[in-house]
Symmetry: C2
Subunit: 451 residues, 2 copies
């Protein structure tokens, strides 16, 4: 048995500010554009969709630190700090000289990092007198967190869940319903966007892009209703920086600094949340190492490793502003992998710019490799990781194995974005040998980008 070591912060060390990397970036992200006029968006253009404060945060490229409202910080204190854990069990199982750490976001009451942004989004909506909020969800980690946050602030929540996940993960739906949310499988016949998609593709299994279209439409056509998003947008990554800001202090407690920072990648918020506070040291000139930052995406949805950088819509129906991002095309329908939270065609604008500027890297992971990594991690550390997080673990294992070959004692830090207790059917299928990899040809990608 290997000794376990974890690091927790005192309550007063829980961050009071989120870190806004946009203020520090040398090359700023290009502006989102109004799809009709192709003019750069102002916060006011976004007011019909999001709470006003979130619109301002979204486009804020000047303030390095954004104060966390007291009510939000109080809720953070309920489950934060999350532990930083030295993964000695995994190190031993791999026989690697690397020091592996993970930030355990799975201990949040909703089982993932998503609550970090659900709470402030619901809070700002409530503050502005909104009564109803709506959103999309894939695997349901975000939807469950938003449903809970809505119930905390007395808001009604309507969630569009990607149809394939709605069917694969009925228990996440039950969780959302237990918190009183309305859950609709998407694409549905309840919106114009959903009807159009279903008319064109009657057996469409849904994607985050389709569900976003429906939720945005609901928000735009319902009085006193705002839309909320679980990833991709810059204000979501901003809220998630509590992860990295805590990890920074906890790595100090451990007396180490990461050579490599790794997170799985759907839209970029858990990656940004962990990575941005460490990237800050580079901008400040205080980084003790030339840390590498690696986003781990599924091989079946490879926008970072095989997508194109360009303006694209954030949703399938083209209701959102145009965003400058690495994308597979907004009509791209990802394969039915169990990591539902990573089934999204595009990357957030900040991360896209960072990748373009070669300030970070990306790696793609096959579904089978992700579950092999997750199972190894579970046995070594006693936590069953979410299928999404398995991608970060697989990327970590790759790097730890390189260290084994070279003998280097690199310090690797990854984000355990959530647990997989609601995803046991996926592990079941994996253990029974019933999961497959999905491959995408260059032609598939070219075609999707042209559509």
């Amino acid at each position: 048995m290997s000794q376990k070591k974890r690091y927790l912060l005192d309550e007063e060390q829980i961050p009071r500010y989120w870190y806004n990397i946009q203020a520090d970036m040398t090359t700023k992200p290009m502006p989102p554009l109004n799809p009709a006029t192709h003019q750069p968006l102002t916060p006011e253009d976004l007011y019909p969709i999001f709470a006003k404060e979130l619109c301002r945060q979204e486009l804020n490229q000047t303030d390095r630190w954004i104060e966390i409202p007291d009510a939000v910080r109080e809720m953070y204190k309920y489950y934060r700090s999350t532990p930083l854990v030295r993964a000695t069990g995994l190190e031993k199982a791999l026989g690697t000289p690397a020091h592996i750490y993970f930030k355990n976001e799975s201990v949040s009451p909703m089982g993932s990092h998503k609550l970090n942004s659900a709470i402030p989004q619901a809070y700002y909506c409530k503050e502005e007198g909104v009564t109803n909020i709506t959103t999309e969800t894939g695997a349901g980690q975000w939807g469950a967190s938003l449903a809970y946050a809505a119930s905390l602030f007395g808001l009604e929540a309507a969630v569009y869940q990607v149809k394939i996940s709605y069917e694969q993960k009925p228990y996440r739906r039950s969780i959302m319903q237990t918190f009183g949310a309305q859950v609709t499988p998407s694409p549905s016949m309840s919106t114009r966007a959903g009807k159009d998609i279903l008319t064109a593709h009657p057996h469409h299994q849904g994607s985050l892009g389709t569900a976003i279209s429906e939720a945005v439409e609901l928000a735009m056509t319902t009085p006193n209703c705002k839309y909320t998003l679980g990833s991709v947008l810059s204000h979501v990554s901003l809220h998630q920086t509590v992860i990295g800001l805590e990890a920074e202090k906890q790595m100090e407690m451990a007396g180490e600094y990461p050579d490599i920072v790794i997170a799985c990648f759907g839209g970029g918020s858990n990656f940004g949340g962990l990575a941005f506070p460490f990237m800050r040291h580079r901008y400040e000139g205080t980084a003790p190492k030339a840390t590498r930052f690696i986003a781990a995406e599924p091989a079946s949805c490879p926008k970072l490793t095989r997508g194109e950088f360009r303006y694209d819509f954030g949703d399938e129906a083209g209701l959102t502003p145009l965003l400058p991002m690495f994308t597979l095309g907004h009509n791209f329908t990802p394969a039915n992998i169990h990591a539902g939270g990573l089934r999204y065609h595009g990357a957030g604008v900040i991360v896209s710019q960072l990748l373009k500027d070669k300030l970070m890297e990306a790696v793609d992971i096959d579904q089978l490799e992700s579950f092999a990594a997750g199972t190894l991690f579970a046995r070594a550390e006693g936590i069953i990781p979410a299928p999404e997080s398995c991608h970060a673990i697989a990327a970590t294992i790759k790097e730890a194995q390189k260290c084994k070959e070279t003998g280097e004692k690199k310090v690797i830090l990854f984000n355990l974005s959530g647990h997989g207790l609601i995803d046991m059917s996926a592990y079941d299928q994996y253990l029974a040998g019933n999961l497959v990899n999905y491959t995408l040809s260059d032609d598939d990608i070219r075609k999707s980008l042209k559509d």
Copy 2:
């Protein structure tokens, strides 16, 4: 929104000793008996079944404090202290002047308190050169914890899971298998005991009593294999006292002392784990209040409220020693409630003696009331409780409502023994109106006690 407040201990405050209430009890529990000779058991009599150190702990009525081995304490530090939380959301939802606190054991990597005893049991087995361990499990909280603890110490684990739970909760089975354990639905045809039960009752859906018979038989007929148990026995409650010992210090941090301590009740280990350290103050003459201790059992398995105090077997086939306990008869087959961990016919010997001596109370809770309480708690506190823990919540709500009537600001402390994320199918059925209560007539109980 109500403010959340939780209390955590520093690492050095994590207990170094378990508290052995047997040493303090004025009326000691009567001895377990050898079923053949009816002579009081010695630790040596139990050596064929359990690790030797556990046999000694089981019958130890003299040492008040048992040192926690370093290797076990190291593992505790991985997830302990668990938070003590002031349930302000629940207080507000109930409009009660009571102060409600819960000890959140659901944050353990396996999602329940069971790991607190699985780790030392696997540890002592490993220390004695055992290679294989076996056990029973109901809902699977214990089986999952034991499977993980076995993998930690490099032991093979074979788990007999109550058949109805095996079918109701397939994901707990997957969790055990993910950790490499062999899982068999019980009663099975793989043991003499299982065959006998199935021959007599071909459609037997299993109970903890049947699964214990099978696991004990496997241990007794397999070289280098020991049996382990998740509740009922005194050494299991002993290990669980880490819960109450921590809660003691955490209540001090909160500046309060409980008027009422509540836990759900299957065999008694999570109840004893929380209650015994507070009962200690009574023996020491330091208790600032005449605290009430309430065990919450299911109305469909009411051994404490409607059972008989007498010697009985711990298992269905009669392979265990005779234990002096409140029992419904060892052939009692409980109704198929979702709280699988509470489906056991008897109570541990310590708790049975305490109840007989009126040093604690018991209350029975219907299935529908338990889920109503669990759903209310989930919405108020953001944690979906295990169906077992819902019984403690329901009992807490009863007491908090009395305070509302009388205006008393009582301090209530209950144990949230685990989360219900693997039990969402039960919540699904509850929300859909498909769950029922089960009633037992006095005749049913008389008949079961006579069998």
